[in-house]
């Protein structure tokens, strides 16, 4: 009897343990389930599935054949109240059937086979095609029947040749033609500038530039001709094929990207097809309203935006946190600021988007483009500029005058100390006015107006908006990390004769760095997955060029860009053929998650490295 109470106490404790474990398990289960769903759906998109040829009996008794991949089997409620099993078939051949998918009642199928001679071809237009080859026809009239032993190899060669040709056309159009285009545009702008300048010697310069444009135009026409010839070569051969329905159609071999015989693949070949499709998805550009092809521009855009966001948010956040934690006297004002910062994290992201659009795009962007919209009259501007310089000097003097860092604790110095924030605010306000209302600045891109350069959404503004949105995360994390630096090392540094700033810079910040990194990692994770604010600050469905490329000045901060998150939204909810887009949505989601994981792993390994370097071992 005496040992019983002890025993009871132990079991009572275990219920709480069980509850905690159950809570954790629930959370993990949900997250794991979500990841598993995405992984399963996303990874199997590219796995080649067998193609089934079904014979379907229609209500009037006629039989027809159709073939495709079985996507799923489901129950359907009929009008009479019963249920019927139906299968969803991916039939491809959108050009022939109008739709890529079809639902068929199981009971109307009289037979199913998996013929080995069916070919699945990925095309540049109209998505995939599923057919039996009949013969190859060349422009010169020669034909090669599908029964010929050389047929398969010849088709393979033709497709490879077509791919090669398309690459050449692309590099020609994007590369050389694009460059000439850019040069012509720049020259035209220069002419426009000279014309508005109206200097007397401008006329000769203008005619010289005009001649240059004519020369460039000639080169341009020549290249266009070349690309047209290449395009014509794409149409050289065509494949005659028969669909399961019996209909005969022709496909230009130059239109085929890739083909294989799904029912004849060995495991090795299946893996090869899978890898090929995955690489194509990750490295090529989208086609046909983004429902086909790859998503490379979106991956790249997301990557660049996230890096830019981290680069922007880190310095701002760290500096703000250092001031809040180390310099500001911990009074009511700082507490209010801290609460405001924390609440900023709860503001809906679209609000940040609207702010970004109004402030960055329309405010700063159009200022960069064309200078102040309502410039101050010169006299007023001069007054503001002088006021700014005076306030700045006074405020700097006051800052230097205040108690030496690490010296006698800040005692209120009456008037001067109360004046300090006022003068500083005034200096900032006047500085903003002086800069943004300057009557002598007409923008860096005024000659291309009214077409905006920076005055429209772009990757810089989107990243800035997200940086602003994730600022609280970095500030809070940095403040925590700074607060966790032991007092002992700070005092040791001061006792060694370091100034306050030297102490922060050489001792406090290095020890706080891993904590700062944690904040940046969280900010990146949040920023990379954000869509709403991007939609109005620079993301587009299809961007003509990447934000980073080999054309000077290499970084094009003003360019619009594609983003995986927006791509998912666009595919899933804006695409005309939602069934065709579904696998792409899963694959894109998987890639987005992978990208975030990769970025985070990189940041975490950096943090581990830092931690090892500055490790504060247990005392």
């Amino acid at each position: 009897m005496s040992s019983l109470p002890k025993y009871r106490q132990q079991t009572r404790g275990e219920i709480q343990v069980w509850l905690c474990a159950a809570g954790l398990a629930c959370g993990l289960l949900m997250i794991g389930g979500l990841l598993l769903l995405i992984l399963a759906n996303g990874a199997t998109v590219f796995w080649p599935k067998p193609i089934t040829e079904c014979t379907v009996r229609a209500q009037d008794g006629t039989e027809s054949k159709i073939s495709g991949e079985v996507v799923k089997t489901q129950l359907r409620r009929t009008a009479e109240g019963g249920t019927k099993t139906e299968i969803q078939l991916f039939t491809g051949n959108k050009d022939a059937y109008g739709l890529g998918f079809r639902f068929i009642d199981r009971e109307s199928i009289t037979s199913e086979t998996q013929p080995e001679d069916l070919i699945l071809a990925e095309r540049m237009e109209y998505g995939d095609a599923i057919f039996r080859p009949v013969q190859l026809k060349r422009k010169d009239g020669s034909t090669l029947p599908a029964t010929d032993p050389r047929f398969h190899q010849t088709l393979q060669d033709l497709v490879r040749e077509g791919n090669h040709l398309r690459d050449r056309i692309l590099s020609l159009e994007k590369g050389r033609i694009g460059k000439i285009n850019a040069r012509i545009k720049a020259t035209e702008l220069r002419i426009k500038e000279l014309q508005t300048d109206g200097k007397p010697q401008a006329a000769t310069e203008i005619s010289r530039l005009r001649n240059r444009i004519t020369a460039e135009q000639k080169k341009f026409d020549g290249l266009i001709q070349e690309s047209r010839q290449l395009r014509a070569q794409l149409d050289d051969a065509e494949l005659v094929c028969r669909l399961s329905s019996g209909e005969e159609r022709t496909v230009k071999t130059g239109n085929i990207v890739f083909f294989f015989e799904p029912n004849r693949l060995s495991l090795g070949q299946k893996i090869w097809v899978f890898l090929r499709r995955v690489t194509e998805f990750a490295t090529s550009e989208p086609r046909e309203a983004n429902t086909e092809g790859g998503i490379f521009p979106a991956i790249f855009g997301t990557f660049v935006m996230t890096i830019l966001l981290a680069l922007l948010v880190t310095p701002f956040g760290v500096i703000a946190a250092i001031y809040l934690r180390e310099y500001a006297s911990q009074g009511l004002l700082v507490r209010v600021v801290r609460i405001c910062v924390n609440n900023l994290a709860g503001v809906p992201s679209i609000v940040f988007g609207v702010f970004g659009l109004g402030f960055f795009v329309y405010g700063m962007g159009s200022f960069i483009d064309g200078g102040a919209k309502v410039p101050l009259p010169p006299v007023w501007w001069l007054a503001a500029a002088i006021g700014f310089i005076v306030c700045l000097t006074v405020s700097l003097l006051l800052a230097v005058q205040s108690p030496t860092p690490g010296g006698e604790s800040a005692r209120p110095r009456g008037f001067a100390s109360r004046l300090k924030p006022l003068v500083a605010t005034l200096a900032v306000a006047l500085g903003v006015v002086t800069l943004f209302q300057c009557p002598y600045f007409h923008g860096f891109f005024s000659s291309s107006l009214p077409t905006p350069t920076f005055g429209t959404g772009g990757i810089l503004w989107a990243s800035l908006t997200l940086a602003l949105m994730t600022l609280p995360v970095v500030i809070v994390a940095t403040e925590e990390a700074l607060a966790a630096v032991p007092r002992g090392v700070r005092e040791a540094a001061l006792a060694c004769g370091a100034s306050k700033w030297q102490t922060i810079q050489r001792v406090v910040l290095p020890s706080a760095l891993p904590g700062v990194m944690t904040g940046v990692i969280l900010a990146m994770a949040r920023g990379a997955g954000e869509v709403a604010p991007l939609m109005i600050t620079g993301v587009v469905k299809l961007a003509p060029s990447l934000p980073l490329d080999l054309d000077a000045p290499y970084i094009h901060a003003e360019r619009k860009f594609m983003h995986l998150g927006f791509h998912i939204y666009d595919l899933g909810f804006q695409s005309p053929d939602s069934e065709a887009a579904k696998p792409m949505v899963f694959a894109t989601t998987l890639l987005l998650i992978l990208l975030v994981v990769v970025l985070n792993l990189a940041a975490i390994s950096l943090r581990t490295h830092l931690r090892r370097k500055y490790q504060a071992s247990a005392f």
């Binding site: 030496t404 006698e408 032991p486 005092e491 040791a492 001061l494 006792a495 060694c496 370091a498």
Partner: protein
């Protein structure tokens, strides 16, 4: 510049064997009062600390030893709402004179803390920290200072092969000696030590005591200690504090063997508290 310290000097209790101080009133504490907010931690302390000798502060916990010590390099300035009255002078110069730069003061007054607190840096960078913040970055000078300071702190032989490894890889006693090396690196005039051996084992304690007797050739040392034997072993003069007041102050041998005050007598013989 001390000769290469081959063998540490043996701890001594023989006060008469010590040389006479160069300046018997090197540090002058003059009617000094100190408050943390409303709480008075130090009351009316008057004392003169001689140059190049070891002065020990003893007294029960909370009596204000650390507070007085931290006022000697104005480290207490970091705390909010503090207030003082009276004056402290080093070599005739008031610490609270408006012309005094706290930073240059702290360069003259090194400090070793009760809890060892090396920086999260390499051993080398720990030692040269005070030089780096003073803008002295010449490699040759730094190398020389590292060796001299580490030898001075009797640590050189143990760490000379891993100067560029993290200081946190050292043992507690080694870290404390590293902190001493750091404090003496830019050759301050005064070395403040707040219970430097509190966290150390007897062997490390003896090493540090030997070190102190050697360092006093160069530095004026003020040490706070709870250990009467330690005060007896190393210090030339001892001050006994109680409740923020200086009760008794004199040559160590005399104070420990024939204290004038009854309170001192009680504390020394362990009858206190």
């Amino acid at each position: 510049m001390p000769p290469e310290p081959a063998t540490p000097a043996s701890p001594t209790t023989d006060f008469s064997a010590q040389g006479e101080p160069l300046n018997p009133a090197f540090i002058e504490v003059d009617h000094f009062h100190f408050w943390y907010g409303a709480k008075q931690a130090i009351q009316d302390i008057n004392m003169e600390i001689p140059e190049r000798q070891i002065t020990a502060f003893i007294g029960p916990s909370g009596c204000g030893k650390t507070t007085l010590l931290r006022n000697l390099n104005r480290l207490n300035d970091l705390i909010e709402n503090i207030r003082h009255e009276g004056d402290i002078r080093i070599d005739g110069q008031s610490l609270y004179d408006p012309s005094v730069e706290v930073i240059s003061l702290r360069k003259r007054v090194g400090m070793v803390f009760q809890k060892y607190n090396p920086f999260p840096k390499t051993i080398y960078e720990n030692v040269v920290f005070s030089l780096r913040v003073a803008g002295r970055n010449a490699k040759a000078e730094l190398d020389e200072v590292v060796e001299r300071s580490l030898r001075g702190a009797a640590l050189w032989d143990e760490v000379k092969d891993k100067l560029h490894e993290s200081a946190y890889g050292l043992s507690g006693g080694q870290q404390q000696r590293l902190c001493i090396a750091r404090a003496i690196a830019n050759r301050p005039q005064i070395l403040l030590m707040d219970e430097p051996c509190a966290a150390l084992d007897p062997v490390a304690t003896l090493k540090i005591e030997a070190l102190m007797t050697q360092l006093k050739e160069e530095f004026t040392i003020v040490i706070v200690t709870h250990n009467m034997q330690q005060a007896a072993r190393v210090s030339d003069r001892t001050a006994y504090f109680f409740m923020g007041r200086l009760i008794e102050y004199g040559p160590t041998l005399q104070l420990l063997s024939k204290p004038r005050e009854k309170a001192t007598q009680d504390y020394i013989s362990g009858r206190y508290g």
